[in-house]
Amino acid sequence: MSGKCNCLYNKKIISSFFSRALYSRLPFWAFHIVLFSAAVVVFLCSPRSINTDFMALLPMGGVNSEMRAAEKAFMGSRNNTVNFIIESSDSQKARSVAERIRNYFEGSGLFKTSLGKSFVYDAGELTSYITDNVYLFLNKDIQDYILQNPEDFKEDRLSYAFSAFSPVGMETLEKDPFMLSSLVMTSLLEKASNFSNARYDDGFLCAEADGKSYIVLSGELTSGNELKMRSRQKGGLGKPETLESVFEIARVINGEESGARVYLSGTPLHTAESSSNARREVAAISGLSVVLILLLFFFAFRNFYILKPFLLSLFLSLLSGASVLVIFFKEIHILTLIFGTSLIGTCIDYSVHFFVSFIRTASHGDGETGTEVPAEARGKATGSGVPAEARGKTAGRQEMPAEAQGKAAESGAPAGKRKWKTSYEARDAILKSLWVGFLSTFACYILLIFSSYEVLRQIALFCAFGLLSSFIVSVFLFPRISSRRMVSEKSPILGKKRGDASGVEEVFGARLGEGGKSAFGVRFEDGGKRMCTASPIYFVCFVLLVLFAVFLPKIRIHNDIGSLYTPSAGLLEGERVFSRVMGYEDVSYALVSGANLEEALEREHEFAERTKGIADILCITAFYPPPSEQRRSIAASRALIPYVYEMCETLALDEDASDNVRKKIETAEVRTEISELLSPFNLGKKGDNYYLAVILRDVKDSVAAEEASQAVGGVYYIQTAREISARLTVLTQKILFLFSAGFGIIIVVLLLTYGMKKGFLMVAALTSVVLAAALLCVAMGGEIDFFFVTGEILVMGLGLDYIVFMADGVKNKRAPSDADKSDPASCKEAHCGRREDTAHCGEARPGQKSAFPSVFLSFVSTELSFGILALSSFKPVRIFGFTVFSGILFAFLCAILVRRRDEKA
């Protein structure tokens, strides 16, 4: 008995706590202070940066974090290199322009080394290294020849030593009388030369193509300079301090009649150009969205005072979104900010719902609320037909609703809070719909957080917390800061006559199925008697289901990363020329892992052997044999020991030399130190494994290359564009799965919250929205891509808001006003009660209002935001914007079909 009492007591306490909290600003302050303080502390401890690298837009590959780290290490240098390609029909002109560019950047600190110099290797050093370790480097053919017939091999080498133009240095002969190093060098140089169309000539990387001479100057940017851009300098060339100077010198030279043309290529340039565009777009989209939305609200509310809370909500939402990013991410991607601008249109929805409800409540119940009405408003109210009786009762302040007052009194709430009665009433009227709408949209964003795509996670977190902030502001702050002066009787939301359908409803409502004159309603009649009126949404849903079933086979998930990014014409041409000149039209790469360097080298060698004839391979073991090959090479070299003295004697070497050679062959051991020349391919240890990189050029059969990588094991073959597209497709499938799961959860929640009848109505509308999206996809080619699906998730979240608000209406807990009593028709209109509620019209009973004006405003503001996104120059943003734009449009139309209305027999 005592336990039961305790339980009831605890429930009472909890209930009392929530009741108090609902009428307090504490949640608002607590949420924002904690969030902003945490963000400031995190930022001060570890400053965050903006990541403008558009390669980060693409999901990183790799089967695990180690592979991803290895991929990042390998791509790091490549992604940081800028190439100047100088084209001229006269090689001397090309050379002089190349020298000019090199001199311009000399000593600027923009590049790590002098342009082009980083690729020049010391041939002497290389020769010396090979000569010193030649007994480790013999290839398989030479090994076989020596092991099968060492006598013949010796004779061949002598013949070679005496032949014309044999590049055998006399000094080398002392260390290497069999001239094995020349065999090795020939093989290595052949491999190196065959890998590119370009060659070094007098310090420049040169090539010929289509009858023109090309010089390629490449340079790796120093750390920190990758993305630095600044506005274009007017006039001549400035100091080469930023990437802008790279564009600038190309522009200046191309503007002169130098007889040469400069093309640019390299990831940093694409990133810099894109980020520069992105920043401009973020500013433009944000600015335009805010201005248009504020204009819309001013048009709708006809009141300047109301714009302040809108702006406050907007500001706090964006700040909350940014704060949560600062807390959880070291780098905030620029694309997050571009996508994030859509938050402007979505977070404002709750403010719209609140203030529409508020001005209708305040206007509707002037006579009862005790809200102070400014003289101006009073005058307008007179003009708009507010009864004198009602006007006379507006002298007091707002008070809390009776229910809330009771709860507040019970829980000890200060009596002073009773003055916000009207605004709390306005909030309570939409609270359920607000909760459902917020939770559904929030859940949709949270679903995206589970994707493995960091940019998407950032966007989701940014928008989810922006929405949360907006929701908290609307629920906990707005009722406390709303005042009667925010109400304008001229607002089209209130209609010509208070209590009438609002102005927007007048415009759209009559055409879209208002008041039983449904344009879409299907009425089943029997002998002149109405049997039932089915909501047109069921019919729409049925038609869409049939169409979906017909076209389902045509829908497929497909991503083509190549089509997503279109560089500027200049950079695109630069990349084409670079690929043609260097012969890199078709380059892919692979990552090789091993428990240690030795194992990684063995695997890489096996992979190279298996891909012979499939592709040209550039890897460490092409130049540095793996341990197993080195052991075989040493064994072959030892087969030459009996011939060392004879060889040395013929070559006029003294006995000391032959003794040294013999000793060297006998003591030769396997080595695994990778030369600095091959360091770009040596990715080092990542986690528990060692990683090497392999470049494949001119892959004739990518399937065979993939099979080779799988056969070897520990090899991850990456075909950049194809691979990324495939990864995006996998990601799309995962998100579709999350989408389906979310859809299922929402159906259950709707049915549980609103009951079977209304719940099914909402489910039918939501299903129609989803099906319409799929059919839109069919109309546009039948391919569902990653950005379409992410957009649809948002459509589901936002569309559900409209459906819930429209289907559930705005509950008016307060008794109808005298005006309602005197005008039952307007009461019905104003309350929009259910059928059972309509009976009360003319009586003092609680009723419901249409949510049309607020939903309409939300819809227009959201469409403005996403409509502007659909004009973005970035294709992913454009697809996303268009998807949400069209999806929201259909969701709004469906919401109209499920709209509460008085049914007339």
């Binding site: 061949d156 013949s159 140089l189 070094y200």
Partner: protein, 260 residues
């Protein structure tokens, strides 16, 4: 100040003038052995160390054909054939199958081939692409003689090498004892081209290409009325000397060799 400027301009102009061959110099070279016609003759290849007596010497026949290329057929002490054309370099060692390396896309071989062809075909355009050229001319009084009297620059003098050549001359080698084409070559002075009172010349070629210059520091081409020697000096100081004798216009190499 003006004087200094004039001197500076003069120095610059001089540098430009010396950096490439003048028309007159090219004409001189064409009339003194560097001609663009087919010829053949004997050659001796000597590989030596900068600071050592040790040399490797081999003998053979060379044929230069501007339309086809150059064939180096080494006959002693080991047989080998090297064919250099504008499209490929082929090498046949003893009785093995020839190894052909196509030039297309192979920069190193293209570079070597171009360098050699520019010298032997008197292709001055190609030569100036590959090298910085400088011509030195001197009179008979400077001709102190090397093996074959054709090489007169200071760098080419090598007493140890000459001693070795003497030893070879006195050996039982039929070529060294003066029999056959090589014999006459080693005996020196028997060729008309080396006995006249013509002025001698040496063309100094410095590779422009970084990669080539890491292997070859300088090439000296010397002659009188014919090319008499080509000396490749490596960056280490080691050298390879090609000396020519009995040069005649025409062709002697079998067409099968060209197809190698």
């Amino acid at each position: 100040m003006k004087k200094a400027m004039v001197m500076l301009v003069f120095l610059c102009v001089s540098f430009v003038l010396f950096a490439s061959l003048s028309v007159a110099e090219k004409d001189f070279l064409v009339t003194h052995g560097m001609r663009n016609t087919s010829f053949y003759g004997d050659f001796v290849q000597t590989k030596g160390l900068k600071n050592s007596e040790r040399v490797l010497r081999s003998y053979g026949v060379v044929e230069v054909n501007p339309d086809k290329g150059i064939v180096w057929s080494t006959e002693k002490p080991y047989k080998s054939v090297v064919v250099i054309t504008s499209r490929y370099i082929a090498q046949k060692i003893r009785n093995n199958e020839p190894v052909r390396t196509d030039m297309s896309g192979n920069y190193i071989y293209t570079l070597i081939s171009s360098s050699i062809r520019s010298v032997f075909f008197a292709d001055f355009g190609l030569m100036e692409e590959c090298f910085t050229a400088e011509l030195s001319r001197f009179g008979e009084r400077d001709n102190k003689g090397s093996d074959f009297s054709g090489d007169r620059s200071e760098e080419l003098k090598n007493p140890k090498e000459m001693k070795k050549a003497e030893e070879l001359k006195n050996s039982e080698d039929p070529y060294a004892s003066g029999q056959g084409r090589m014999g006459s070559l080693l005996n020196g002075g028997s060729s008309d081209s080396h006995t006249g009172s013509e002025d001698g010349w040496t063309l100094s070629l410095i590779p422009k290409d970084d990669v080539l210059s890491q292997f070859v520091e300088r090439i000296y081409v010397s002659g009188k009325t014919d090319i008499e020697s080509v000396r490749l000096v490596e960056s280490s100081g080691d050298y390879i000397l090609y000396e020519f004798k009995n040069l005649n216009e025409g062709e002697v190499i079998s067409s099968d060799v060209w197809k190698m």
